[in-house]
Symmetry: C2
Subunit: 271 residues, 2 copies
């Protein structure tokens, strides 16, 4: 059975999507067609949305689910006339919050993903640039400035995790690939030693690592299961020996890896 | 006046944060202390949270706001015993959705930011790698594979936007910096011509560009307002002449830039 879900916002729609998807994920038996409509910020666009929702209702033979985070109650009222099942975030929670806070809402649009605080936004962008400049062990001389140094085998997920930590949390994360030369003595490489308190290790199932590496360099020694098993075994031994906190990334998304690192290290977010 | 807000989740907490922040952004007069508590997934952790919330209530002299996206109703019931003002997402919407969908929730935890669909998740990670490999005009030979090519002056926001497009939407975005040599004739550089349908331009206020460039190379010709004004004027003239869609990024966050590009280009997200 197929149902259509609309995520409607007067801003980016990212909040409506996140909320809607977290609710829809609970209904695994139903197939959803998802439609995101950002920047629905005037009466005309709202009326067009109503027509789109009603058309979906007709085509599907069932009313679409409508998750909306529109702040302006006039625009929300137009959306509410559609043939949809409404999950209306601001309509549901804003009034009770106004009462609790004894303060009236500013009804200002698109605040959650805009540049509310220029200094904090710049910290996020600085953190992205820092991650790019300090990717793949490129410039260890910047490690004093890092909030975090991710280490692990090549292709264990360090770079996307650093970028997500930067974009989401404004954390300056460098990364350093542990290579075979580093693995001779199961010790932390010398140039990482002064920064030991900032180091977090990633590991991954050797089978998964071999699959990922094979996409980059098919049928190489680098991609062989034997080589991956060897590297991971040595790296995990080093983590344990040096008491480095680490995470197995095999089953985790970058969002989960980043959040778990934040929780484990107790790092403060800069946003 | 200060109030404390908790974002509590049995997963990453990203949805609870996004929703909570979008509601709190409406109350500009109140200062909020924000505390995110991810992975609250058993009764013990929930009881500890209750103690933390109650302690905040006592210290603040007012009850904290509690935004929770906990799926398991047993854990939610524990949280609900705290001295907080509850904004309970699943408690509010899950039951009505079950009725509408004539289907019961799977009550499974942490679905919205986990790897639900391995193929789509890999597309996001591929897109991140693509953005890194094709940053700063590095390898124009991969442009056939790109979904999008962002162009613009150096430091106009291309790289963070490409990375966000990759992480959030799974879109393969390359970027090409327009340099002075490209600006002689107000035409699109030759090597971009075959890909004209994939090109999107960024521009930025010269004053803002000069500020950003000064952080990288203080007091250089590159960072001078005169130089920035010249480049932006020529680049915008080229965009208009070549009819390239473009966006002024000055006031926008990467989230807004990426979403507006998705809307303008009609690109399909790969997630």
């Amino acid at each position: 059975m197929k149902r259509t879900a609309f995520f409607i916002s007067d801003g980016t729609g990212l909040t409506a999507e996140a909320l809607g998807n977290s609710l829809l994920a609970q209904f695994e038996k139903i197939e959803f067609e998802r439609i995101t409509a950002p920047y629905i910020d005037d009466a005309d666009k709202a009326s067009n949305m109503v027509a789109r929702i009603n058309k979906s209702a007709e085509q599907d033979g069932s009313r679409p689910l409508v998750f909306d985070t529109i702040v302006d109650s006039k625009i929300r009222d137009i959306i509410a006339t559609a043939e949809g099942f409404m999950v209306d975030i601001f309509g549901t929670f804003l009034n009770p919050l106004e009462q609790e806070l004894q303060s009236s809402s500013s009804y200002s649009v698109g605040k959650s993903h805009s540049i509310n605080n220029a200094g904090r936004y710049e910290q996020r962008i600085h953190a992205v640039n820092f991650a790019l400049d300090n990717d793949d062990g490129a410039r260890t001389r910047h490690y004093n400035e890092a909030d975090l140094i991710l280490i692990g085998a090549s292709r264990s997920g360090k770079t996307p995790s650093c970028l997500y930590l930067a974009l989401q949390y404004g954390v300056k994360a460098a990364n350093y690939p542990i290579t075979e030369e580093d693995l001779d003595d199961q010790k932390l490489p010398d140039l990482l030693k002064p920064h030991k308190d900032k180091i977090f290790g990633l590991t991954i199932e050797p089978e998964r690592l071999a699959t990922i590496r094979n996409e980059r360099r098919p049928n190489s020694r680098y991609s062989s299961l034997k080589q991956c098993m060897h590297e991971i075994e040595e790296i995990e031994a080093m983590y344990r020996r040096e008491r480095i906190p680490y995470l197995n990334t095999t089953a985790y998304s970058v969002e989960e890896i980043a959040t778990r690192i934040m929780v484990t290290t107790g790092l403060k977010r800069n946003r």
